[in-house]
């Protein structure tokens, strides 16, 4: 009944992509994807936390009494998030400034706790690591894609290199409404694509 290792990894990327399919963690998704680089760095920070917390939770799962498992998981996740925050602040100050409040908010990102509870608490360390990696990559992929589309439509640039002049860009795509519009269309496209392959 158990899925193979590669299936666990790919699961998060396409079949159960946290953004396009599970639609989890939408708040930081909409807020940080104003440009491709911001989306990608947010995705990578979350990837690190997901991977770390999945591994840690699956390692200690048998020592944690059921009644206190949620606070225990939250403490583990918060530790990873704070560590990531300090590391980014120290070595990538520009990214730290751009992401601002959204790095500490990874603690309450429901994908992270969701995977700890739904997967890592029931599976081996190796499989949890793969799941964290897959989900994290899926999240990063979604955020980067969203960031690319919004940055391109909004400012005519992708990763800060000019594709078309900024004056043709529609500013709304950089603003909040554009985030919803782009996300909606991307989910629709992804659904079409998934239906064909399944």
């Amino acid at each position: 009944m158990k899925d193979s290792a590669s299936k666990v990894l790919l699961n998060g990327l396409i079949k159960e992509n946290p953004i396009f399919v599970l639609i989890l963690g939408i708040c930081p998704t909409l807020a940080t994807t104003t440009s491709a680089i911001n989306g990608m760095s947010m995705g990578l920070a979350t990837l690190f936390v997901l991977f770390g917390s999945n591994v840690a939770v699956s390692m200690v799962k048998n020592f944690i009494p059921d009644k206190v498992r949620i606070p225990a998981y939250i403490v583990i996740i918060a530790t990873f998030v704070s560590a990531v925050e300090m590391l980014i602040h120290a070595y990538y100050p520009v990214i730290y400034e751009n992401l601002g409040i959204f790095i500490p908010l990874i603690v309450v990102n429901c994908i992270v706790l969701g995977r700890a509870e739904a997967f890592a608490a029931k599976n081996s360390v190796f499989r949890s690591a793969l799941d964290g990696l897959g989900m994290g990559l899926g999240f990063t992929f979604a955020l980067t894609l969203l960031g690319i589309v919004r940055e391109l439509l909004g400012t005519g640039k992708v990763f800060d290199s000019v594709i078309f002049p900024e004056s043709y860009g529609a500013l709304i795509f950089v603003l909040a409404p554009g985030a919803f519009i782009v996300l909606g269309y991307l989910i629709a496209i992804m659904n079409k694509f998934r239906r064909k392959t399944v």
Binding site: A78, M86, L87, A90
Partner: protein, 227 residues
């Protein structure tokens, strides 16, 4: 292995164990990154000062600090090889950004012409207000504040009758930014231009000009420099 039972002692022990472990992890990461974080802040500050000053040989590492009760302003004077003053970098701030505090540093040459600026700290909306980092040094006629003489130019957004185009969809940020620039120039003037007798007449006209532009200021920006 069987799960631990959810009795009181187990729960207390496990939770304390996890939090103590977390605390130790965080302390070690903190001590690992502390120096780097401090360095990058200091480095950023120095780089910003270097970048905004006109061609110079050295600058005062200890600034003249001014506090008008609301904002603290720091003036770093810069000199050429013969210790002649060439200009100054002024660190100035505004609390009226869209998301609070904005900290910038503006470089002036000795005539009060803006050489360059750099944003030290801001929390403005990503992709909108945050574009002030390079918006006001983009070479578009009404956007660029570089090369403008702060004594004659009306450094307000066009909406308020000034000659600077606000950042698209971020007028509040632009107002706060330009307020900080004017504030910087005010401190620059009172520290660099005024003490020299030959510029007194010029300074008077500047004063008049400044009063003019202050009266057109938006209400949110009433925290002007003390006069």
């Amino acid at each position: 292995m069987k799960k631990l039972k959810s009795n009181f002692i187990n729960m207390v022990l496990v939770l304390s164990g996890i939090t103590i472990f977390a605390a130790f992890t965080l302390v070690s990461v903190y001590s690992l990154t502390k120096e780097s974080i401090g360095n990058s802040r200091q480095l950023k500050q120095n780089e910003a000062i270097q970048a905004v000053l006109p061609v110079h040989d050295h600058f005062d590492s200890i600034p003249i600090e001014m506090n008008n009760g609301v904002e603290t302003t720091k003036v770093y004077k810069a000199y050429d090889k013969n210790n002649v003053l060439v200009g100054a970098a002024v660190e100035s701030s505004s609390n009226n950004g869209y998301k609070g505090h904005i900290d910038i540093i503006v470089g002036f040459n000795k005539d009060g012409v803006i050489v360059n600026y750099s944003v030290l700290d801001q929390h403005e909306t990503l992709g909108l207000g945050s574009r002030m980092v390079d918006w006001f040094k983009t070479s578009k006629a009404k956007q660029d504040i570089r090369g403008k003489n702060a004594s004659t130019a009306n450094l307000n957004v066009s909406k308020d009758g000034g000659e600077i185009d606000a950042i698209t969809a971020a007028t509040i940020t632009s107002r706060a930014f330009l307020f900080a620039v004017r504030n910087a120039y005010f401190e620059f003037k009172s520290n660099i231009i005024d003490p020299e007798s030959e510029t007194i007449i010029k300074a008077d006209t500047i004063q008049a000009k400044e009063n003019d532009s202050t009266s057109t200021l938006n209400k949110i920006e009433m925290k002007g420099p003390n006069k």
